[in-house]
């Protein structure tokens, strides 16, 4: 019997706002434990939540990118449960009225578009971080209260591959809209997937298994494929799939049981009485959308039409939003778009990889990269001079034009100087003119080779060619 895999995905995205969802504690990530904590984050009695405007804007932007209906009034609820990482004993979330509802995104399957519907998007707050040791656990409240967006898909995903594409798309939206780092390895994008299977043609859903702790997009795909296989083997053996929570074991590449699920937990939701309903005006919502940083699809379109980049290069540049933004900035200073793209992909990217840094840590102004591309392309310098200037530029963040002077990295462009060199070569090789006139164009290359040799390659090849031809024709 053949089974169809049914997958629904819940994604938690940690926002990169400057302050927390409901408190004014700063968020910088990676700081010492308990140094980014406000009164509310410790649930001290009498502290009260204050909704972060930027977090709301972020939620609007992502809702919009997912074609969702945006609620014009914000309501928050309490989700009540006890856990060691939950300071207040409840989490403030949006249960009854999520800010975004009923949207979709499209994934690309071998050129075919498939629409996956998104049920809801809401804002909530993160819990504190637990560091587990051999026989105790330490609590770091820096993470407590960081704004989260939760995005819940409809169970319309049918394979590990589709799930991967779905998560990639969400990741692309939240990173391009500058809402989140979207790093699964670091936990700023977290996936819980619900997997069930059913015989093809059946309308009824099978028993759902939840898989947690997926720390990379590749693992999402692997976990789902493994889980689908595990479940179908169970059914084929006449066994039942049990409702449970499993986690993905990266080493074994399989899902392992965490706990059996009893009846669904009761979170005793009720409206958060400390946050009044907040009306969002049409202008506010529209403004949040209008000021949203450019999303991937739009940027790609623009790179192909405005910069006329080939699609492979464009996609390479767009694979990292910050890299793409850098390219955009540099492109303001040159019209040599494809050359700039080539340079960014080979030279700049090579440098980043070699030093294991991100483009955000690359301290050279985009304008300077553009200038350098211009210098090389106009053959005012040769490629080894280009490399020399680049090496100094990344250290000093100075204009390549300045560096060119400092390094004396110029080419001989004066026609008369070049002519003198050419004439010297011709004088030593008297047959060259006749060879040339007899159609042996190789002579031209020979002369060029000789003068390059004499000058250590520092002759402007364009001008030299012109002079060589003139002299050979004489």
């Amino acid at each position: 019997m053949n089974f169809e895999t049914i997958v629904g995905i819940e994604i938690h995205v940690e926002m990169k706002t400057k302050s927390k969802m409901f408190s004014l504690a700063p968020i910088t990530f990676g700081d010492k434990p308990n140094t980014e904590v406000a009164l509310l984050d410790m649930a001290f009695p009498g502290t009260m939540p204050r909704v972060n405007k930027e977090a709301v804007k972020n939620a609007i932007r992502v809702s919009n990118a997912l074609h969702m209906t945006i609620d014009h009034e914000l309501w928050f609820d309490r989700k009540n449960y006890f856990y060691s990482d939950l300071p207040k004993g409840y989490q403030i979330t949006q249960q009854a009225r999520p800010i975004g509802s009923e949207g979709y995104l499209e994934i690309d399957l071998d050129g075919e578009k498939k629409r996956i519907h998104v049920e809801r998007l809401h804002m909530e707050e993160d819990t504190c971080m637990q560091h587990h040791f051999s026989d105790y656990t330490l609590l770091d409240y820096n993470r407590a209260g960081i704004p989260l967006i939760e995005i819940v898909s409809k169970p319309e995903i049918r394979s590990g591959l589709e799930a991967r594409k779905y998560v990639e798309k969400i990741r692309e939206i939240v990173t391009y809209s500058n809402v989140s780092d979207g790093k699964m390895e670091e936990g700023s994008l977290r996936c819980d997937v619900n997997v069930s299977i059913r015989p093809y043609g059946s309308e009824k859903f099978g028993t759902k298994v939840e898989v947690k702790n997926l720390n990379s997009i590749a693992n999402v795909e692997k976990a789902i494929d493994f889980e689908a296989k595990r479940q179908s083997e169970l059914l084929l053996m006449g066994k039942e799939v049990e409702q449970e929570t499993r986690r993905f074991d990266e080493a074994k590449k399989e899902t392992v049981l965490m706990r059996k699920k009893t009846d669904a937990a009761d979170y005793k939701y009720f409206t958060e009485p400390n946050i009044p309903p907040i009306k969002l005006s049409e202008e506010f919502i529209q403004n949040a959308i209008d000021t949203c940083p450019e999303l991937y699809d739009h940027k790609l379109e623009r790179f192909l039409t405005d910069y006329k980049l080939n699609s492979i290069d464009a996609k390479i540049i767009l694979s990292d939003v910050e890299f793409a933004n850098y390219y955009d900035e540099a492109a303001k200073f040159t019209k040599l778009y494809q050359a700039l793209a080539n340079y960014m992909i080979s030279e700049v990217n090579g440098y980043l990889n070699k030093n294991d840094i991100s483009i955000l840590e690359f301290k050279v102004e985009p304008k300077f990269v553009a200038e350098l591309v211009e210098l090389v392309q106009s053959k005012q310098i040769n490629s080894s001079q280009g490399k020399e200037i680049f090496a100094k530029m990344v250290k000093e963040n100075k204009s390549p034009l300045k560096l060119q002077k400092e390094l004396g990295a110029t080419l001989i462009s004066d026609e008369e100087t070049i002519r003198k060199l050419v004439l010297e070569v011709l004088a030593q090789n008297v047959t060259l003119r006749d060879d040339y006139k007899a159609g042996k164009t190789r002579a031209q290359g020979f002369v060029m080779g000789q003068i390059m040799k004499k000058t250590g390659g520092k002759v402007n090849p364009g001008i030299a060619n012109k002079v060589i031809v003139e002299e050979l024709k004489k």
Binding site: F44, P45, G46, F82, P273, N274
Partner: protein, 492 residues
């Protein structure tokens, strides 16, 4: 006579005229606090208060800065930086907040001197003043300690009624300021929900919680509200309404004012002294030009007040107090697992009464019960508030006895959920349901125990409320009433 026996505004005048200094007042207040036998204090703040009073005494007392140099007391569920704030619950023993509640901060800035933190019913979840971890708080009007003062703001009421301070902060979720005020001959106010910031008030049921306070005159109440009513960014429910000068607008002219007496409530009162005192007061109000009408509310709605209050307040409180787990603050009692840590802290930290309330609240919120309990309570709340709003369309205020009896005896009183409560015993909670401004002030005495009258108005009509209260005060002659003053009058 001592200056502490005067009202806040009178003390202020004496300060301005240099008849007394903040230091003298503070020393006397601390002395009286120590002498008091009614179990009013969780903590008396002596050293710091005197230091501060000395500093304040070095300067000229600014005129019209009514709180400058005034000793005061705060209920121990208001966060005070550096001073243990435990809401009279063992689970918060030893908790020393890192911050001041907004109201504490405002009083500090105005130059008021905090001399003590007062007792309350545990976590403010009671109405008798018997359930705090230090035991029963008694009524200063009964030195034999047979009578209660009521709660939950019991200690603060004692502090003002016994002339320890002229002003004390409380909190009011059902009637926790206005009921003890009735039992202790005080002016007890809770203004419109959102008018005074709740930041730093330990939450019991936020949708019903209010910061309120006790004074010995209506004028003092208006003065205090002038100081404490302002928008506070730290409380998202804090009102953005422009400031009103309640003192400047204080008038006792009630000509043409329409007052509603809810018939069913008045009729349920059996205490003859209270009934006749109230009827006499109504006659006086009428003589001053007020129009008083008896109206019907709806007995079913009135009977719903108590259960509605119980379910909503307990449901919200079980969530608000879920932060009390022994992990971040409060006694850590250990355990083999984190669950045991929480279990030990909570089992030992809460009294049986509080636990029962939490179970009731939590049960009401459970998925299978929410529709029939919590949501039904929220729906009944709406109907009750709608009914009140209908009344406020036609009337300036509702006026009724604040309590059907004077202070109750300790013997026989308990906090058990019962079904024989009178609507007259619970009606003040409608002020919390609708967030209405509501003030209790003394109306009369029975067997040496005071009882009060209450005036409740529509949201943000504090001016109208003070107006009527001021006329009542004029007619009763009880401005400045305290236990000491009452005794002196008796002697004369």
């Amino acid at each position: 006579m001592n200056y502490l026996d005067l009202t806040l505004s009178e003390i202020h005048e004496a300060l301005v005229n240099k008849q007394v200094t903040p230091l003298e007042l503070t020393k006397e207040a601390i002395k009286r606090a120590k002498e008091n036998k009614d179990n009013a204090f969780e903590m008396i703040i002596e050293e710091d208060a005197i230091k501060r009073a000395e500093e304040l005494s070095k300067h000229e007392v600014p005129k019209d800065n009514y709180f400058y140099g005034i000793p005061y007391v705060a209920k121990n569920n208001l966060s005070t930086k550096g001073y243990e704030t435990n809401a009279s619950s063992n689970i918060l023993n030893g908790y020393v907040p890192l911050f001041d509640a907004t109201v504490i901060d405002a009083l500090n800035k105005a130059g008021a001197i905090l001399i003590g933190k007062s007792t309350l019913d545990e976590l403010a979840m009671g109405g008798t003043g018997t359930s705090g971890h230090l035991g029963t708080t008694y009524n200063p009007y009964d030195p034999k300690h047979l009578h209660l003062i009521g709660g939950s703001s019991c200690g603060s009421a004692v502090a003002v009624a016994d002339s320890i301070v002229p002003f004390a902060l409380g909190s009011d979720t059902g009637d926790s300021v206005r009921k003890p005020a009735s039992h202790s001959g005080l002016v007890g106010l809770k203004p419109t929900w959102g008018l005074i910031s709740r930041f730093g008030l330990f939450p019991f049921a936020p949708s019903l919680d209010h910061v309120g306070f006790f004074t010995r005159s209506v004028k003092d109440s208006a003065i205090a509200l002038n100081l404490l009513a302002f928008h506070d960014d730290n409380d998202s429910t804090s009102s953005f309404k422009p400031k009103v000068d309640y003192l400047k607008n204080l008038s006792s002219d009630v000509k043409g004012k329409k007052l509603a007496v809810i018939t069913e409530i008045f009729n349920s009162i059996e205490d003859e002294a209270i009934k006749s005192s109230f009827l006499k007061l109504i006659e006086k109000l009428k003589n001053d030009g007020a129009i008083v009408e008896y109206i019907n509310f709806d007995n079913k709605l009135l009977n719903a007040i108590y259960p509605t209050y119980m379910v909503i307040s307990c449901a919200e409180s079980t969530s608000n107090n879920a932060n009390l787990d022994g992990i971040k603050f409060g006694p850590y009692l250990g355990g083999k697992t984190y669950q045991e840590v929480m279990y030990n802290a909570r089992t030992n930290g809460f009294s049986p009464l509080i636990k029962r309330r939490f179970v009731l609240g939590s049960y009401s919120l459970m998925r299978e019960n929410q529709q029939e309990l919590f949501l039904r309570a929220q729906k009944a709340r709406r109907l009750i508030v709608n009914k009140c709003n209908e009344i406020f369309k036609k009337f300036d205020a509702i006026i009724l006895p604040a309590s059907p009896t004077p202070a109750p005896l300790e013997k026989g009183s308990n906090e058990k959920v019962r079904n024989d409560y009178l609507a007259a015993d619970n009606w003040l909670a409608i002020g919390n349901f609708g967030g209405f401004p509501s003030i209790t002030l003394p109306m009369g005495f029975e067997d040496e125990l005071p009882f009060g009258v209450n005036i409740t108005c529509e949201p943000f009509n504090e001016v109208g409320m003070f107006n009527i209260a001021s006329n009542v005060e004029k007619n009763t002659g009880f401005a400045g009433l305290s236990y000491q003053n009452h005794l002196e009058k008796e002697v004369k």
